[in-house]
Symmetry: C2
Subunit: 206 residues, 2 copies
């Protein structure tokens, strides 16, 4: 953030922005740990050290708070991934595996766990459903775009788009498999093998 930009905000605006951010982060933590049933606005406000009134000032409804929270944290994670992408190896099998590991990490951490609780709640709660469909489309598109870019995949080649999509779907499946037990040993072997298949597929003449 440039100092010019910062100077254009009042201390009051800065405090409000910091409160909003604490609420969003606390909301994702609550969802990941307690699920949708256990995640009320009051629980999140307490965890964020904010009054319930202040929480409701920022987010009038429970749906507003949790949808915004998953969107905010997903955007932050993707930005962090982008900022670390310079450290990826040169194009080749090692880079492909590093990218698959990066994607799978995104889908096996607390953010995905939180999103999963929201996703499943949205299946039976109408006020959530439309928002979550929009949110998931948006986050899914951004994740796909980042994967294509880091893999150096050429989507003009037939089949490449679907191969990258399959990789993201596999990552979602691995996220689900990690929900109740630590699936790390099994996942490590799958990620290694998938990376090999993906690397071969992306280089193969079509």
């Amino acid at each position: 953030m440039t100092s010019t930009h910062a100077a254009s905000r009042t201390p009051q605006q800065d405090r409000s922005r910091a409160t909003r951010r604490r609420l969003l982060e606390a909301a994702v933590e609550c969802l990941a740990e307690l699920g949708w049933n256990g995640s009320t606005v009051a629980v999140v406000a307490e965890r964020a050290g904010v009054t319930r009134g202040a929480a409701q000032h920022h987010f009038p409804t429970r749906e507003d708070l949790f949808t915004a929270a998953v969107e905010h944290v997903a955007a932050e994670r993707l930005a962090a991934v982008r900022s670390h992408s310079e450290a990826l190896p040169e194009p080749g099998p090692a880079r492909t595996e590093a990218v698959v590991e990066m994607i799978v990490r995104l889908y096996t951490g607390p953010l995905f766990r939180a999103a999963l609780h929201l996703w499943v709640a949205a299946a039976t709660e109408q006020p959530l459903r439309e928002r979550i469909v929009t949110l998931e489309n948006h986050v899914g598109r951004e994740a796909h775009r980042a994967a294509v870019e880091f893999l150096g995949a050429d989507e003009a080649t037939p089949g490449v788009r679907e191969t990258v999509q399959a990789t993201l779907d596999m990552a979602r499946g691995l996220g689900l498999a990690n929900l109740l037990t630590d699936d790390t040993p099994r996942r490590t072997g799958i990620v290694h093998q998938w990376s090999h298949l993906l690397d071969t597929a992306l280089r193969a003449p079509h």
Copy 2:
């Protein structure tokens, strides 16, 4: 069922078995449509046309009923898949694609939707958790075994086991992507492309 076997049961036992079966099927339908919160023993009993007392006679707790239901319906679906496996094409790309389609169908229908609700509820409800871990291990192993068999995959070849596991994880991810919207068009392209990669991988010298 042989007539000898049937003759060894009384009409009372037959009725009890039929009631149990109706309860299990109704429980999976309820879970898929209403989620865990909406699926009480009373709702299931009503849908099955059974008194609540009769339901509790068969399944003392809510956890008993829903865990048994997903296990029962999963076993039935796998048995149905096995009984149709004779209709699969001869080994080759067409068979591989037919098997991947079959697996993905298992993970994108009402049974997976029901299992997903149970799975996510188990993440925050201790009485469910241990049962669901056992159930998912069992169902996952059976699905893996069937996939290996139908694909004619040789798990002694390095990487083959992980390739089949990745296929099942991708199918789970596709099931999740189908929860809130009809993902059929996107899924069709992914299944076609993945079948091509899988078939190549299973035939490649390692």
